[in-house]
């Protein structure tokens, strides 16, 4: 088990390095965008003086390296800075909170992140059991009409654009049969059941987007094992086909399934922009897109870091679970 611990620590450290590299890439990429916050916020009224004034007040006139170093220094201490949109500058016509009420990037992101994680959690709670169950069933009844129907329908779902699926679901589940609300504008202090109810449509949309891959991997991983001598042995013991697959094939097929599940969970956190926009769901994806629009670099960077961290952590979790799922590593000789 100490070996496992060493792997975890090693991977976490590697994860930090990855995050650092990601932060550089993000910084360079965002700076490569045409225009900056001052131009974006002033829009048509961007006179040269006003632009220069805002740049000076926000420190945007410093060279890129200094800005990056300052930001990184703060980030290491857990201070991701203040969103440019909330900062004190001349063009911010009295909307800025003063003194102690300054809204930081962290303040802005946390509630959004919570909403996104809630949506991802609900989607995963539906999609993962569904996908694994369907994977087992399609492996059990492989090449049957059921198997083919399932493959065709999940593949169609994953091939359609998410907004299209979203509108179809709205049409059938909100407009024609008002089961769920079409708007998912949740807010703090809302009752859990109500929150869940409003989250259902985006969650279902995401479920349709991620089920196919997990299901097909489960099916493939199981079928891959069916030629193994121990599966033949299980069949020759007169066990039912269902038991052969669930009890004898599935436990040995876990590693690839876990990896694909982790990738899809990461997608649920980082790839939900379109779905959030369609359902007006106040998640981190919307915040991210809005911040890119106005070149609000601190927020964009913070979002990217979070996305990267989610990927790294989920992959790490998947690797650890894969190791644990292998009895050879769990019970050394």
């Amino acid at each position: 088990m100490s070996g496992l611990l060493r792997i975890i620590v090693q991977r976490l450290l590697l994860g930090l390095v990855t995050l650092f590299v990601v932060s550089i890439i993000i910084f360079v990429a965002v700076n490569a965008l045409p225009g900056d916050f001052a131009e974006a916020i002033l829009g048509q009224g961007a006179t040269e003086e006003a632009v220069t004034a805002i740049r000076e007040q926000l420190g945007l006139n410093q060279n890129a390296f200094t800005r990056y170093a300052t930001w990184l220094g703060g980030a290491v201490r857990g201070d991701l800075g203040v969103p440019l949109s909330q900062a004190l500058f001349a063009g911010n016509f009295g909307t800025t909170a003063t003194g102690t009420d300054v809204i930081t990037v962290v303040d802005q992101i946390i509630p959004r992140l919570k909403n996104t994680l809630f949506l991802a959690g609900v989607s995963a709670a539906i999609a993962v059991p569904l996908a694994v169950t369907l994977g087992v069933l399609t492996a059990l009844y492989r090449n049957s009409a059921f198997d083919k129907a399932m493959n065709v329908s999940t593949l169609s779902a994953i091939s359609s654009p998410e907004f299209f699926i979203a509108y179809i679901l709205i049409l059938f589940l909100a407009v024609l049969n008002p089961v769920f609300p079409s708007l998912s504008n949740i807010f703090p202090g809302m009752e859990f059941s109500e929150r869940l109810n409003r989250t259902m449509l985006p969650a279902l949309t995401l479920t349709l987007a991620v089920t196919a891959q997990m299901m097909r991997m489960t099916r493939a991983a199981i079928i891959n094992l069916l030629a193994s001598p121990y599966i033949e042995m299980a069949r020759l013991k007169g066990l039912s086909p269902m038991r052969v697959i669930v009890k004898h094939a599935l436990p040995n097929a876990l590693a690839p399934i876990i990896t694909v599940i982790a990738l899809n969970l990461a997608f649920l956190v980082t790839g939900v922009v379109v779905v959030e926009v369609v359902f007006v769901y106040p998640g981190i994806g919307q915040l991210f897109v809005d911040s890119v629009k106005i070149r609000d670099i601190p927020v964009v960077q913070a979002c990217c870091l979070i996305f990267a961290a989610v990927y790294i952590l989920l992959n790490l979790t998947a690797d650890i679970l894969s190791i644990i799922s292998n009895p050879r590593l769990r019970h050394p000789k």
Partner: protein, 548 residues
């Protein structure tokens, strides 16, 4: 006489390849009474396993029973529904597979796999069946019967797993067990323990059994009657003693005769001559664990030194040290009196050329995408610098030497060759470097006996023609007897005995050599009984504990 327990009539089985169904079994009959053991023997491709599985009404993917009936206690398994068959499988008909290591599910403990059958078939509950499992482990003389079942398959040795699988097959006290080469993957000393255990328990519970093997000596110990198969046809069937004493068919006689090949003895080594290869006090390690301890032996020109021992004894590791693949931690290797660099990367072409290898698995040792001409041509070009017509002529000559027609085989791929032919290509590839010394690593153990004999004869002929020296790694003492001049016996990385073959096969022996020699099954049906009596039955269990 009452109806037999298992009655197979006109069984025909087909296998699919390239979208057509081709016959594998061409109409076989078989009767088996309660408590009777039948041995199915034949070479690979004879259809032994296919018949074994078909006796359970089971066929592998891409195989089907096309005609005939398999009637078990009044039920025709060919026409029975899947549910009806499931009710019999595991409960009244059980299966013991060739590789227990692969046939136990790696994800579950042994005892959980043991109790699964009885619980699922409602023969008993989990606690009862667990207790019974421990009792069976005890009867099969597994060490720590109380505890061993709570381990995972990878934590248990091969011979013990094979016995645990026999226990599992016994869990529902079936009327019939199919043993599919249950000892083929085991060392000879382990094989005896498993054979004795299987025979005891089959007798105790009066279980009928189909015992599948390619090893005649093994089947002689186990079976009441023997059926010989060849390419899906029955050659003959008779009770064991009759079959061993008076086989009527030529094919059976040829099988019986294989073990008789023996090279005439060569004159002994002139004292003072420089050996081709000297292994000098070699100690080698994988990681931090020493696996070879102070190994020394010489191989002289034109002679064959057999290195014998069970799996894990360090035979192949010694070969890796000689070729420089695994640089020894202490000691060194000499070729013709000259010390070699330890690491193969620091040896020059001429030094590399001196030691060539032929591998156990000809299948995996040949690049499946290279034609035979390319495979053999590569070392010809690399070591001898021949190109174009000269290279082609050399490859043709090599193919001639291994008795394969050059024009026919030059452009073939390995997949178009039989196992024996592939091994011949392996030999030609080693010869292409024009070495003085070749390491043969279990080159015949994956081959049928008749084919293996052909390979041994070829190697002997090449040795006579070219004056080659061989280091012949094997666990099969029959092979040692037939071709070696000197023998090195290894155990746990140590040379326990070495000397001329004649000395090795005459007493007194080192106790371990003695154990190895006496463990090789003989064609005498009373061999196992006599041996067990000699050793004292209880010692077998102890031997198993020692091996832990």
């Amino acid at each position: 006489m009452s109806e037999p327990l298992l009655k197979v009539r006109g069984l025909k089985i087909e296998g699919r390849s390239d979208e057509t169904w081709n016959p594998i079994i061409n109409g076989v009959d078989m009767d088996l009474n309660k408590g009777e053991v039948i041995g199915l023997i034949g070479e690979s491709g004879a259809g032994k396993s296919t018949i074994g599985l078909a006796s359970m009404g089971f066929t592998r993917d891409g195989v089907r029973i096309s005609e005939g009936s398999v009637v078990f206690d009044g039920v025709d398994l060919v026409t029975a529904s899947a549910a009806d068959k499931r009710a019999l499988l595991g409960k009244r008909i059980a299966y013991v597979a060739q590789s227990a290591a692969a046939s136990f599910n790696p994800a579950h403990k042994l005892i959980d796999q043991h109790t699964e059958g009885p619980v699922q078939h409602s023969v008993s509950n989990k606690a009862e069946s667990q207790e019974d499992g421990i009792e069976l482990y005890r009867r099969l003389r597994l060490p720590n019967p109380e505890e061993i079942g709570f381990r995972y398959p990878h934590q248990v040795s091969g011979g013990q797993l094979q016995r645990a699988m026999t226990a599992m097959a016994m869990a529902c006290r079936p009327d019939l067990i199919i043993f599919d080469e249950p000892t083929t993957a085991l060392d000879v000393t382990t094989q005896i323990e498993v054979l004795a255990s299987i025979r005891d328990i089959v007798e105790q519970f009066d279980t009928a059994a189909i015992y599948i093997t390619h090893d005649l000596a093994v089947v002689a110990q186990m079976a009441d009657k023997i059926k010989v198969l060849l390419k899906g046809d029955e050659v003959e069937e008779a009770d064991t003693r009759t079959m061993l004493a008076n086989p009527t068919q030529d094919y059976t006689k040829s099988l019986w005769a294989v073990r008789s090949f023996e090279r005439p003895a060569k004159p002994s080594v002139v004292t003072g001559s420089t050996p081709i290869v000297s292994v000098k006090n070699v100690t080698a390690a994988y990681g931090t664990v020493d696996v070879l301890h102070d190994v020394s032996f010489d191989i002289h020109a034109g002679r064959t030194v057999a290195v014998v021992g069970e799996s894990g004894s360090g035979k192949s590791t010694t070969a890796r040290c000689i070729t420089g693949l695994l640089p020894p931690r202490k000691g060194y290797i000499e070729f013709e009196g000259v010390q070699m660099p330890l690491d193969y990367r620091r040896r020059d072409k001429n030094q590399l050329r001196q030691a060539q290898m032929i591998y156990q698995m000809a299948d995996t040792a040949l690049n499946p995408r290279k034609t035979i001409g390319e495979t053999i041509g590569r070392p010809v070009e690399f070591y001898l610098g021949l190109k174009g017509k000269e290279k082609r002529a050399k490859v043709d000559a090599l193919l001639d030497e291994i008795e394969l027609e050059p024009t026919e085989y030059f452009n073939r791929l390995p997949s178009e060759l039989s196992g024996g032919q592939k091994q011949r290509i392996g030999i030609a590839r080693a010869l292409a470097a024009e070495p003085k010394f070749i390491i043969c690593d279990e080159v015949t153990s994956a081959l049928d006996q008749l084919v293996a004999e052909g390979i041994l004869k070829l190697l002997a002929k090449l040795q006579d023609q070219l004056g080659l020296s061989y280091m012949f790694i094997t666990h099969d003492l029959a092979t040692v007897k037939s071709i070696s001049d000197e023998v090195v016996v290894m155990k746990d990385g140590v040379v326990v005995e070495q000397g001329e073959k004649a000395d090795m096969f005459t007493p007194p022996h080192h106790p371990y050599t003695d154990l190895l020699l006496s463990s090789v099954p003989e064609m005498d049906p009373d061999w196992l009984d006599n041996l067990l009596e000699q050793r004292g039955v209880d010692n077998i269990g102890d031997a198993a504990v020692d091996k832990m």
